[in-house]
Symmetry: none
Subunit: 203 residues, 4 copies
């Protein structure tokens, strides 16, 4: 036996695997510094000490590159693996808001970029939106499983309302703080949880 691996290694000079990360780092730093629109493709390439073409070889647009750059930092969303749904939601939201403290402006611009670039919209959904939606959906489904949440709850819509509400604030320049997180979580939970209303409990 001669060759184990089907090692379909493409011929030619392999891509320098230091250049991708250095582009991501450059993108991230420059966007945080000058804002998304204040940064050109040229600037990122120059900062990374790289030719422009080398960038285009990896990402088709500034938006895709910046998305990748900000996905890294946001990837490590720490999520409570169990506990009451409301608590887990709140914890998630507080974490997200903390990230947005720094990344908010960039994320807003990525959402903006997706509005006239269907290809990027797909990337953005797949890389950013859906993972986060899934986290929240999982919390809801766990809640159903352990009896906290109504069996017939409209999970999909609850997720949309949950994320939508803070996108709405984010995109409109509103403040995203702990109080907001609490109120939003409360609102959604009221809609889908089994727990009797407080008012009724008092009766």
């Amino acid at each position: 036996m001669t060759k184990m691996t089907t090692s379909t290694r493409s011929p030619g000079r392999p891509r320098d695997n230091k250049v991708g990360p250095s582009l991501l780092a450059a993108a991230r730093q420059l966007v945080l510094q000058h804002g998304y629109c204040g940064v050109s493709i040229q600037m990122i390439a120059t900062e990374a000490g790289v030719g422009r073409q080398t960038l285009y070889r990896r990402w088709p647009s500034k938006a895709e590159l910046v998305l990748a750059a900000f996905l890294e930092s946001a990837g490590d969303a720490d999520v409570l693996s169990d506990g009451r749904a409301e608590k887990r939601l709140l914890h998630f939201l507080v974490n997200v808001f903390r990230n947005l403290q720094q990344d908010g402006p960039a994320i807003r611009n990525l959402i903006a970029s997706a509005q006239d670039d269907p290809e990027f919209l797909k990337s953005f959904r797949a890389g950013f939106v859906e993972p986060r939606a899934e986290i929240v959906a999982t919390i809801f489904r766990d809640g159903i499983a352990n009896g906290e949440i109504l069996e017939d709850a409209d999970v999909e819509m609850a997720v949309a309302a949950f994320h939508g509400a803070f996108w709405y604030h984010l995109l409109l320049g509103g403040k995203l703080d702990a109080e907001f997180a609490q109120r939003l979580t409360r609102l959604i939970m009221k809609s889908i949880s089994k727990e009797p209303r407080e008012e009724e409990l008092l009766k």
Copy 2:
């Protein structure tokens, strides 16, 4: 006596008041035809048979002009003045969705434009967002007044979740149809209405 009013009319040639509307019309038509990003300021001015400066004299940016153009058509939001809150919400939403059928792409781009232009964000909030938020808030407050909705409902957050949910879908390219409207309305109403849960009714 020649003139009654001391009307501080500025000297010089008065503005041609046909030019504003023709710019709005041109903007609207071109954006619907080629998409927001497919239209340049020059194109709009040319289409309206107007110099570029004449446009800048009235609006500071493409976004502001297009906002004005699309505000006109959306201005005549017909809202039920009374009835049950859920019904009124649903009616509003269906109307909005009907408008978005045509204007959706433009609105998405306006939201996008606001993400890196604080000045325009203010205009957009004042002209587009807040009027619509107020309509929904009013419905909620009416609901409280007539006992449909809990006195301590978080109206502001409910509005954010309500609008946010369909913005979320709009910006992500989701479908905005009657079913979505119904499910969203239901979710929000469940959260804030007094009506006892179905489950409890069955007890």
Copy 3:
């Protein structure tokens, strides 16, 4: 009578008539300094303190601009208006060679540029080649008129051989000095003048 001139002055802001000359000057200086290929359109525009578009508005290519720049200096070809043909030819050639001392490299590159750009070739012929050809042709025709040169001399071909010979040297990097001028003039004159051969005179 109200208006005399049909003054078809085009509308819009008139072109700044200082910008053309400053571009020509910049082009000339930079090309002399760094060579034709060492100069980019951007460099010329920057040197002239002008936007790139402003340059493209006046000339369609670097070649056309540089041609114009070097036409100016070469325009003042001083030509003897009478005298013996051979003397006038020689005087012309010496003058040309003096110009080429400085402009030679640029001219060579202009000829080169014309080889893959038919549009520019036309400009180059009209602006550079033909005026110079005409000067020499005129000398020949004067020579015919005053009996120095054969009536049936092939003026066109003589011009081609005259100019061609020194283009040949120019393009091949040969030296263009007074001796060359003398020998070339002699050769051509021998071909077309009436004067009996020296050899025959000696018989």
Copy 4:
């Protein structure tokens, strides 16, 4: 003993001696098809099924490669070995013009390429210009030897005028036909041949 020859055969993989010719062929075909400037080094390499480096290992530039490619076809210049000088010149010229029918555009671009690349200019002179100059010079010298041409004829200049005249036409897009060949030959011969003038013969 395995190998006989001490032949200083370089170590490593020997050059594939099919690759050179296939590059020449690819270059020739592509340049004839798309024009010199319409062809990139990459295209030639790809057409020949060869890596780019392999090309650079053999020729330092596109110009050198294309020169080599077109030298092949032009190498077989058939020249009359004796006869009257004028006849031999004419025959040569007609042959050259026939070649230029096809290769003209490429040759023009090679001349152009030489204008900003001294290294290539040397190659071009050595490979293309001088052999052809020598052919013509030889014809002239033979003419001197057999008494057709004046002993003190300026052969070098005659060659320059002869070649220069048709370069001039070639580079300026003029037509190179039999009539041109005849007129040019006539002009040069008149200048350097011993034959008495027609006018004088009629005396």
